[in-house]
Symmetry: C2
Subunit: 314 residues, 2 copies
């Protein structure tokens, strides 16, 4: 082990920060670290926190983390932020979040941008999760922003997915509900002091009752995160879900499936980077002009380009 | 031209529906249609409607479409719905939206799921847009659900992006604002009868004034869509943006850039499908077991798999 790796396995925050920066930039260095230290991973429990904007996910995560460090745990938090598509930088950047928590010796918090267009989670999320695992975290929280691909992707990486909702978010969210039913393993109605929270809970329970194909029936928990209400109950439900996963053998299945995805994604990303490089190198602007002039259509040209890259350059 | 193609160029709704179904399933048939009819495309003006859940995008789109058909236009609407990651089906499915409008002879409305993980928009969106263009639509609306990749992707496909917000959507949305500033070419504060709308307008204007690098300064329009208020003004702004794009030469640049993306995406999708097929075929489960048993790490295995696919199978 080199110095960075030694510091990393001891949970040194600066070493973690550097390793995750490698992961975020999808550098070979991050892969090298994980290749060496892979055997040390596998003990962290991964919790995904997801849901539409405005439901209070950050505050809820904050309270959950506080609760778990009081129980003596080490916690890593990865907050997925939407990335500016133009600057490539994380929009929320060094946002002032969880300030008091990030100073705690047993907590490491990191924002990661959703750079890259291969899905809603950052390309480096798998690696960053492993790095936190290797660094000895008992729990790793992955918090997403927004409804979309990241919400779908989080299922692939988390052991337990907590879907956070709030009353009165408008029709869109009502409509989206049917989709998120499949994603959440625990449902939270946060801001439950708001009007309509009981109605939201009833509706959720009704929809969840419709699906009798699963062994685990997702519970619905009411919270008021900023008042720290319902947090203990939510932690209990997370523990119950973990117990269920272990007892049923599903935790192992889930993690093996995740490993499979991690490998496939790695191959895909590598391939995409390579191909994109080839395409960029292939100055095809002169040919593009023919498409613009409608001498050739874009799909015939794409077919040509594909054959060209495939046969000659790969 | 075969029968379907003839009906399509005449704007027959059933022909459009079938062609878009081909596009949605990314069938070669859709490509064949576009290859043949590509020269007929290019006259539709593409308007992206995006913004967080709950701001009233559907109602706003509905009113914009009504306004434009009254002016004698033919309109196509593609509503991007979040897809269930498990069933692959569109979550909102055949949702009851714009029912009266969809019966109008000059309007074609279609929901498309965000299937595939190569970005927020459906893989078939480029093709579906072209099909509506070929079918003689004057305007094509692409409406996204949610904040995320689809919002980022819509910039690539739309001529004018309308970013819809509403007052009081919570802190997340406030935080996200910095990112959406770069995406919107027109900003709408819908539900402007709600408390805090003036504050939201002022904040938006302040942020927009910070960026003095652009020729086009995005206007902010207040609407109350369900009361049909502010719609005329919004239409005027869309027209003004179109005029700006044409006069500055940016419309051509934007569309050429889009064509470039369409070609690259087509190559990428084809490659991904091919590689994924290869990976699926390669029954690597025996090797995966070694990774599970920690005899080998996932990244070393991914490297091996990559070399294997590259050299032997592609």
């Amino acid at each position: 082990m080199n110095n960075l790796e030694e510091l990393l396995v001891r949970g040194d925050k600066r070493a973690i920060a550097r390793a995750i920066t490698y992961a975020e930039n999808y550098e070979e260095k991050a892969k090298e670290i994980i290749k060496k230290l892979y055997k040390r991973s596998g003990s962290a429990y991964i919790i995904g926190i997801t849901g539409p904007p405005g439901v209070g996910k950050s505050t809820l995560t904050d309270k959950l983390v506080k609760n778990l460090i009081e129980k003596g745990n080490k916690i890593g938090v990865i907050a997925i932020d939407p990335t500016s598509p133009f600057t490539g930088g994380s929009i929320l950047g060094d946002r002032i979040r969880m300030q008091d928590l990030s100073l705690h010796p047993n907590v490491y918090i990191r924002s990661m941008g959703t750079r890259g267009h291969l899905g809603g989670l950052s390309k480096g999320t798998y690696m960053a999760t492993r790095i936190l695992d290797i660094a000895g975290m008992d729990y790793v929280f992955i918090e997403t922003v927004g409804v979309g691909q990241s919400e779908i992707d989080i299922v692939k990486i988390a052991d337990t997915v907590v879907m956070v909702l709030a009353p009165g978010l408008g029709d869109d969210v009502q409509a989206i509900k049917a989709g998120i039913m499949e994603i959440g393993e625990i449902f939270v109605v946060n801001k439950s002091d708001r009007e309509g929270s009981d109605k939201t809970v009833v509706e959720l329970n009704m929809m969840l009752d419709l699906d009798d194909t699963k062994d685990w029936r997702p519970p619905v928990v009411k919270t008021i995160a900023y008042e720290n209400k319902g947090i203990n109950e939510l932690i209990d439900k997370i523990f119950a879900h973990r117990e269920y996963l272990i007892a049923s053998g599903n935790l192992e299945k889930k993690r093996n499936q995740r490993l499979r995805m991690e490998i496939i994604e790695t191959v895909k990303n590598k391939l995409m980077n390579n191909v994109f490089e080839k395409i960029q190198q292939k100055d095809f602007d002169f040919k593009l002009q023919e498409v613009i002039d409608k001498k050739i259509d874009p799909y015939t040209f794409a077919d040509e380009l594909y054959r060209d890259i495939f046969n000659k350059n790969l």
